[in-house]
Symmetry: none
Subunit: 199 residues, 2 copies
């Protein structure tokens, strides 16, 4: 990938930081005005360089249209935060990866995805490697499957049962036993809303 010149980088930064540009592809004239140029020809060279670099998508195969629409940024999806397992805190994923989910899973409330590690919920049909879509929430109802932070240390995915004076986390694995905690040991981080598995 070709290296950008100073001005090209500058122009690219302006483009991607300008919300208007991201929505409605601007015309060259509009861009010139925005950039303080007075010649479309000059602009064209820069745009061309950005296209070569793969940072800008030329609009339409035909001519007259408009252009720009930078590419990489138009991702939709929910953030993929890391892996979750019984016994370990969430391994944070470095770059904020994104995972695409059904539109209907990307609801109004903030959600994120985790990849499941381990078999502690296997009897619920949640397998190692599956992706779970979590709705951020600090409270949950009995019977919900939740992401729970235990003793400020480890995070785990379990079915929740709250009783006066104690909070029980039920694994769904015949070989594992429910874990009982004092309410203040458990912090709920989210509720399971969806599951996605690839074969």
């Amino acid at each position: 990938m070709m290296r950008l010149t100073r001005r090209q980088q500058e122009i690219y930064d302006i483009l991607r930081s300008d919300a208007d540009m991201m929505q409605r592809p601007p015309t060259y004239d509009e861009l010139c005005q925005r950039l303080g140029l007075s010649s479309r020809g000059s602009l064209h060279k820069h745009i061309q360089a950005l296209v070569m670099a793969g940072l800008v998508e030329p609009m339409a195969g035909k001519q007259r249209g408009i252009r720009l629409v930078s590419a990489a940024q138009q991702e939709q999806g929910i953030p993929m935060l890391g892996r979750i397992a019984a016994g370990r805190p969430i391994e944070a994923v470095e770059q904020t990866e994104k995972i695409s989910v059904p539109d209907s899973m990307a609801a109004s409330k903030p959600r994120y995805a985790l990849q499941v590690s381990g078999d502690s919920m296997i009897d619920e049909g949640i397998f190692d490697g599956d992706y779970v879509v979590i709705e951020q929430s600090a409270a949950a109802d009995n019977g919900d499957i939740v992401v729970a932070l235990i003793d400020q240390q480890e995070t785990t995915l379990k079915r929740l049962e709250q009783q006066p004076g104690k909070t029980i986390l039920h694994p769904a694995n015949a070989s594992m036993s429910p874990m009982i905690y004092k309410p203040d040991q458990i912090q709920i981080q989210g509720i399971l809303r969806g599951l996605i598995r690839y074969y």
Copy 2:
């Protein structure tokens, strides 16, 4: 899907943001007025483009003030064909419903979705009510989970094992046994590629 021109985008935005339009479909003349056009012919070209793009529903034939309403429901997704279970043919769903899936599940090859009915694959973590994403294919490898049509009658979701002279369909349920057929009894209709579950 064709790219929209600037004006087309603009018109589409106006349409969808106008509450009146969503309720009572406007006439071309009304739209022209709303958009500041003085020629129905001009409008028609734009509308046509939106129809091509799948953003507006034609409502062909009818004349009387009908049109537009692309609706928020212009979902993209894969067709939801019906329910699948062991022992019954697929119940066809009348209207071609659609279900939205992660982009990554809507691959190049034709796919469709089925809702799982029954517990015959429960040990594989495929539960009653789950949605499975199926890639249309007439052939599959051993070990694949496939949609199989048995004796031209019933359709079922099972793990496939093909041996010389016999085809075995393995359920994933401790209380069920593998079923053995002659190869010509079984017709493969698709391969399981993804699973989606809502809580």
